[in-house]
Homo-oligomer: 359 residues x 2
DNA sequence: CCGCTTTAGTAACGCGCGTTACCATTATAC
DNA sequence: GTATAATGGTAACGCGCGTTACTAAAGCGG
């Protein structure tokens, strides 16, 4: 395996018959450098002829900037659910990065890893900033990094912090879902949360549910509320619990598709056919939502947009632009499919549901 | 946004009362350096006290190694299908990288990007090696990189090349699927390919289908074969075409879950209920396979394993170990669910299918 | 012609670290 | 006691590039 021969600035300089400084000035298009057009052209030609690429390490060392951002991806017990977001998020971040001339480092953090091992990326100057997805609230090294002025953006808001963040507007998303069910005539609408309400997103979706009911003059009834826990199983048991009520809800808003999928299964097993007897609306719009039967009506989370926003916000912070908004909230979009009863249940054709992912 | 103050080796040296050289020798645990235990300890203490992390750029420049590998992810028209592999693959690569002390750069290549823009990663010394997923056969810069001795690993084999690669054993995977159907008593087994057979994987899965039939002394009948094209729609139309036969197959092996999902839809619409009238086995085991009705029996592709193998193989090459195998083929595993008719159709509980993803 | 500014380009420094060559001081061998 | 080796450590170089300070030549007004 022969080692690659790399072309350096010095070689370009020799080829062009100028000094190395001149090469640097030309290739970086330094504004106030006095380089005559012919010289300039000679340098450019030489660089092209030799297929010159600057050495990233040298450039970073000299400039003090890595032009790299990193995505720190906290793996968690709810992984299947989180995996659904990764491709879109990463694509969004990467595209934003590329747009501004940055590279992207990916750093998963395993469940059993001690807190804050990723700080090496920051302190070791591998990256100019971090996007953290799935931050842990007990992560003190995170706050220390922020206190030191290291550029950070969170995906998924952490409570009580001034660290910039990017997330969907969970309250409005939940309201859209519930309003849709209200619009279909439902009055007894159950709720299964996506997770325990210690999670900020979970609490927010609950809030949205309550606000939508409130605005429709329906009193909030805690008997119709159950707690999900990221996975199918939690939805399965939660909805069965709901069905034991004397008056089970005619519709259920389930604040996570993964949980909803478990719930759908239980509903069908118990003879509560969806949507004819019980309408269901989920949240997240994971890929499987389109494929399950009945196809799941759900609140679409713009994963690409979240990635893009996180990347762009982070880069702005790195480059010292004072962003006007340090907490970005993106809008969701209701995707009407079959499970809510508003769409024709069996449109022939390969796709189910009126919505096709925009990418 | 206050700039971070970074700790350098020099500061550690001062704190410990030794020279910078000594610090470097101690922290890198240089074998033949003569450092007394007390001095050694003083340096370690000082480094810890100051929370010292070496500057990545400086280290790269001095050592000539980036200790970074990159995943080049070719986005393509079949994106939904490929996205299903990204989380596992990336996790596998990252874990392998971390195991060997490497970092991972992620670089998506958009559909409309000109060929070979990613070579900047290599030539600019951002990375010591590349994993390319979804390589294009007309990518001449790829071959040039390889000819220059730059470490490369392909995910998905390219024909006629000596570039190291990692993939599943498509032939055996297809054979497993078809053998399973044969074992259930089926004799007329149709095939819908995952893609046009110019794709190597597609041809291999077709080969596996043929070999399985051959070994069962069943003559290959081209009338039972249709071509898929990555997406649901292609499966939808392909299977409808199969159903126009006087004697439609009693079982269909569909070499892609995505294509199979479209086919399932068509079968159900046409009254060919699955699995009672037509058995179906897919390939890939995408997340949706578990959730569709009936749950799809399919050939599981170990995405994590592929990523791990690619990462490990690449790092071996980078570090000069001559790997004994430059083309790694991983085994698949048949996941029996409902669509083949071998599993009980309605086991109560939140999960469908006997298989739970191992992660 | 002189002094001043502008133009065109270069020499030299430093980024932080790995590494090699080198220098003192002791221990060891004879 | 002296030659030799081992021990403990340091000074200095170079990695490739960005950048600053400087020089030399040319333009230009008086």
């Amino acid at each position: 395996m022969r080692a690659c021969a790399y072309v350096t600035q010095r070689q370009v300089a020799e080829e062009a018959g100028v000094s190395r400084t001149t090469v640097s000035l030309v290739l970086n298009a330094v504004p106030d450098a006095h380089i005559s057009p012919p010289t300039r052209q000679r340098v450019l030609d030489a660089a092209r002829r030799l297929d010159y690429y600057p050495d990233a390490a040298a450039r970073r060392l000299a400039s003090g900037k890595t032009r790299t951002i990193a995505l720190v991806w906290h793996r968690a017990p709810d992984q299947t659910y989180r995996d659904a977001f990764l491709p879109g998020l990463l694509d969004g971040i990467s595209r934003a990065a590329r747009r501004y001339g940055y590279h992207v480092l990916f750093r998963p953090v395993a469940v059993d890893e001690p807190n804050g091992t990723y700080v090496e990326l920051a302190r070791g100057r591998h990256t100019d900033g971090l996007v953290l997805s799935g931050p842990r609230s007990d992560d003190d090294r995170l706050h220390r990094l922020h206190a030191q002025g290291f550029p950070l953006v969170l995906h998924g808001r952490l409570q009580d912090t001034e660290i910039p963040s990017v997330d969907v507007d969970n309250v409005r998303g939940a309201m859209t879902a519930v309003n849709h069910l209200l619009g279909l005539g439902h009055r007894r609408i159950g709720l299964i949360t996506n997770a325990p309400t210690v999670y900020a997103a979970s609490q927010q979706r609950l809030d949205g549910y309550r606000r939508a009911l409130e605005e429709a003059d329906i009193v909030y009834d805690e008997a119709l509320v159950r707690q999900g826990n990221f996975d199918e199983e939690s939805g399965y048991t939660a909805v069965i619990d709901l069905l034991t009520l004397k008056h089970p809800p005619t519709a259920v808003f389930i604040a996570s598709d993964m949980v909803a999928i478990g719930a759908l299964r239980a509903l069908q097993e118990q003879g509560f056919s969806v949507p004819s007897r019980t309408a269901v609306v989920g949240f997240d719009d994971i890929t499987a939502a389109r494929f399950i039967t009945p196809a799941l009506t759900t609140v679409h989370v713009p994963t690409f947009g979240l990635g893009w926003s996180a990347g762009e916000l982070l880069i702005r912070i790195i480059e010292g632009d004072q962003p006007h908004q340090i907490h970005v909230e993106l809008d969701t979009e209701l995707v009407v499919r079959e499970s809510c009863g508003a769409a024709p249940p069996h449109r022939p054709g390969p796709l189910r549901g009126c919505y096709v992912n925009e990418r």
